[in-house]
């Protein structure tokens, strides 16, 4: 990839009075937030708090009931929906590799459906290398890969159209703890190297605290807290945030205590 590390290709984001209702249920309640280019945002909160809904309104997998989302100052509804999605990387828990295409074709799908020329084999190898997979994986079928390998391919597919913005919906949630840790770390490295803007939904507070620049704690469709990991760990960010942070912090303290106690 020709990107230089210093270059921030990620856009800025603006949520303006964004709401989504399902009948009487308010999934996202009038959220207004700003994201700087190159930021890594983790969206945490209990299930049903509206994290995924908020995320999916960015690439319009869900349409808002009211309000709008702007990417680099441009309303997301001004472009054709498929054009918009092609410019945004999307990775989600169920991965969704196309089972009837080999890995190379899965990765190159973005160039196949868009107006771009077909990805040369060299670039597919580069993308595989980027997600720490050997180049000879390209000829395999998805069901021949482990879950972790499949999600690495999922990330490579999302990156193949050189997006500036990555949306990740519990991307590593279904993987075992070691694979998850590995992938999360190597993705954070990629984020920095490529200068991406990333929004990642996760239910794993520890993961959020370890890799995000900023954490939004969601509760009942609203942002209950918006703070850097250090601030959250220090406390004083409200009850919702405290209850989420308490778990990994308590675990870490108990682990340290056990280690000290022999």
């Amino acid at each position: 990839m020709p990107d230089t590390p210093s270059q921030k290709r990620g856009p800025s984001l603006e949520f303006i009075n964004l709401s989504r209702h399902y009948g009487d249920v308010v999934a996202v309640d009038t959220i207004s937030q700003h994201i700087e280019p190159g930021e890594f945002i983790a969206l945490v909160g209990a299930s049903g708090s509206g994290k995924s809904t908020l995320l999916k309104m960015v690439n319009r997998l869900i349409e808002p009931t009211s309000g709008q989302v702007e990417i680099d100052g441009e309303d997301v509804t001004t472009r054709e929906v498929h054009e918009l999605r092609r410019s945004i990387g999307y990775v989600f828990q169920n991965i969704g590799l196309f089972p009837h295409m080999d890995i190379a074709h899965n990765i190159a799908i973005g160039s196949r459906i868009g107006s771009r020329p077909v990805l040369p084999a060299g670039e597919i190898a580069e993308l595989l290398e980027l997600v720490d997979l050997p180049a000879d994986m390209a000829a395999r079928m998805p069901d021949q890969l482990s879950g972790g390998q499949q999600q690495r391919v999922g990330v490579a597919r999302a990156l193949s159209t050189k997006p500036g913005l990555m949306l990740m919906d519990e991307p590593f949630g279904a993987l075992d703890p070691i694979t998850r840790e590995n992938l999360a770390e190597s993705y954070r490295a990629l984020h920095d190297r490529l200068g991406l803007t990333t929004i990642m939904v996760t239910h794993d507070m520890a993961e959020a605290l370890l890799i995000a620049d900023r954490i939004w704690v969601m509760a009942n469709g609203s942002i209950a807290a918006d703070a850097a990991p250090a601030q959250l760990l220090a406390g004083g960010c409200g009850e919702e945030a405290e209850s989420l942070v308490a778990v990994p912090r308590g675990q870490a303290e108990r682990l340290l205590a056990r280690k000290a106690g022999g």
Binding site: H82, S87, G96, F98, G110
Partner: protein, 516 residues
């Protein structure tokens, strides 16, 4: 073995020509069904209301017996000819195509909807997420993943269609059913076997080729799939090689689905050929379709029976004397449809209530009144349509018949049912040779409840006033006695020294006795 081969080999003589027609019809119906069902399935997979309506309709069609569905298209298309004129042919290829297409819809539609709805939601979300348009999603993801299920539906539809296409014989479309129906009527089992084996083999081969394609899609072995597709295409190309088609001046001779009709059609054909006409036969037409076909010039000449026209077409339930009845029918046909009733052949083929000779003797059965007396102990065997015909009502009105049971048979089996005691009385045909051959006793009808059934030569409007044509068939009028007709019928019906309808017709031609 050799002897067996000698009997079966001639039965296969007409197979190539009929196979081609059969293949053409089945493939056309299948192609049309695909053309309708696949887009509909895509729509239905995205809209539940459409799915409910489309699948509901297709299921409903499936509950209609294929034979009835085919027959229903005749009046429907006839009504449309009033609007579109000659563009619409209410007999033959078109009604068969439409009925078979409707029949093939359900398996294709159901499997395609199931296949498309069965695509893993995660994969659909991924397709949306990478920015596919609806069309791209269908082409690149949904269709390939649903393909094995869709192909399974197409295979089912193909087998059904090839099987059901044999029934298109009844609406005048040549198919392998011609062999089966003709064979059943004349008890020529080699003919039935030839039709069944060929149609079954065709179904199996097509199913295998489609199965190969299905497998090739599932396992992504493209070459195999293409080879199978090429073989299918070759089969279609073979079917499309134009068969000798009739030109404008070919006379189309109709025959209903029983021996007498096959023989008389051949007799007429032989005469017309001698007079220099080209002829073609449309055999195995349903009784109801025949009269309509003649009025509409789809069939140019046929033999119909006075009572049939009297009750079914003119809706009369009264009985009148024979000459008056023929006169009334003649003027009614000409005035209403321009059909020329050239005249009677000389014999009558009426419904005759026949019983076994031992019963007639022991129970003293001579008339229908005697039958009414013993009817609570008797099982009544009929042909497939009699119980629904107005004549049956007329008979019941005249005689208090209360049978223990009623069973319908193919005419051939009706006679066997009587001799094997599965039925105790049958509604036999008076010109049938099997009455005399079995010594069955025909009961008198003292109240004249059953109308007369003189065999009438019917000429369609196109030739109704053609003097040369009428002159060619003139020698057949009043020339066939019921005894001769019975003998000719029996030549074809009997088990030993069985003759073909053509041979029987040739014999009958030598026996014409012009009594006029």
């Amino acid at each position: 073995m050799r002897e067996w081969l000698n009997t079966i080999a001639p039965a296969f003589q007409r197979v190539p020509e009929l196979l081609a027609q059969h293949l053409q019809l089945s493939f056309a119906a299948l192609a049309l069904a695909l053309l309708i069902a696949l887009p509909l399935a895509v729509w239905a997979s995205r809209n539940r209301h459409v799915a409910n309506i489309a699948l509901g309709f297709a299921s409903l069609v499936q509950t209609i017996p294929a034979l009835a569905l085919l027959a229903l298209f005749y009046p429907l298309l006839l009504a449309l000819t009033a609007l579109f004129g000659d563009l619409i042919q209410p007999l033959g290829f078109l009604p068969s195509l439409l009925a078979l297409t409707l029949y093939a819809l359900l398996p294709i539609l159901r499997n395609a909807v199931t296949g498309l709805n069965g695509v893993d939601p995660a994969i659909v979300e991924a397709a949306d997420g990478v920015g596919m348009t609806k069309a791209q999603k269908l082409r690149l993801v949904e269709a390939p993943l649903a393909a094995p299920t869709i192909m399974a539906g197409i295979r089912t539809a193909a087998v059904w269609t090839i099987g059901a296409a044999t029934l298109s014989t009844t609406v005048g479309q040549p198919s392998l059913g011609d062999l089966i129906f003709a064979g059943l009527q004349t008890q020529n089992w080699s003919l039935v076997l030839a039709g069944c084996l060929t149609s079954a083999a065709l179904a199996i081969i097509v199913d295998m080729l489609l199965g190969t394609i299905e497998n090739a899609i599932a396992t992504r072995r493209k070459r195999r799939g293409w080879i199978a597709a090429a073989l299918l295409a070759a089969g279609l190309a073979f079917a499309l090689i134009p068969t000798t088609s009739a030109d404008e001046d070919t006379i189309i001779i109709g025959a209903k689905r029983f021996n007498e009709q096959y023989i008389l059609a051949q007799l007429i054909g032989q005469r017309l050929e001698q007079a220099g006409y080209d002829v073609r036969y449309r055999e195995g037409l349903g009784s109801a379709v025949m009269f309509q076909a003649v009025t509409n010039d789809d069939v140019n000449i046929s033999i119909d029976y006075a009572g049939t026209i009297w009750t079914n077409e003119m809706n009369r339930t009264d009985s009148v004397a024979r000459p008056e009845m023929i006169e009334t029918i003649t003027s009614w046909s000409r005035e209403t449809y321009g059909v020329n009733v050239a005249g009677p052949l000389g014999f009558e083929n009426t419904y005759a209530f026949a019983v076994r000779p031992d019963d007639a003797r022991h129970l003293a059965l001579k008339t229908m009144d005697d039958l009414a007396r013993v009817s609570p102990d008797f099982v009544f065997g009929t042909d497939l349509e009699f119980l629904e015909r107005p004549e049956w009502q007329m008979v019941k009105d005249a005689y208090p018949l209360r049978f223990k049971g009623e069973r319908a048979f193919e005419p051939t089996f009706m006679y066997k049912a009587l001799s094997s005691r599965q039925a105790d009385v049958i509604s036999a045909f008076s010109s049938d040779g099997r009455i005399a051959a079995n010594n069955f006793v025909v009961l008198d009808d003292p109240k004249g409840a059953v109308p007369a059934y003189d065999a009438l030569l019917m000429v369609s409007p196109k030739y109704a006033n053609d003097a040369k044509f009428i002159a060619a068939i003139q020698p057949l009028l009043h020339a066939i006695s019921v005894e001769k007709m019975r003998e000719a019928n029996y030549m074809v019906d009997r088990e030993d020294d069985k003759k073909s309808p053509t041979e029987a017709a040739r014999w009958l031609a030598g026996q014409l006795e012009n009594k006029e």
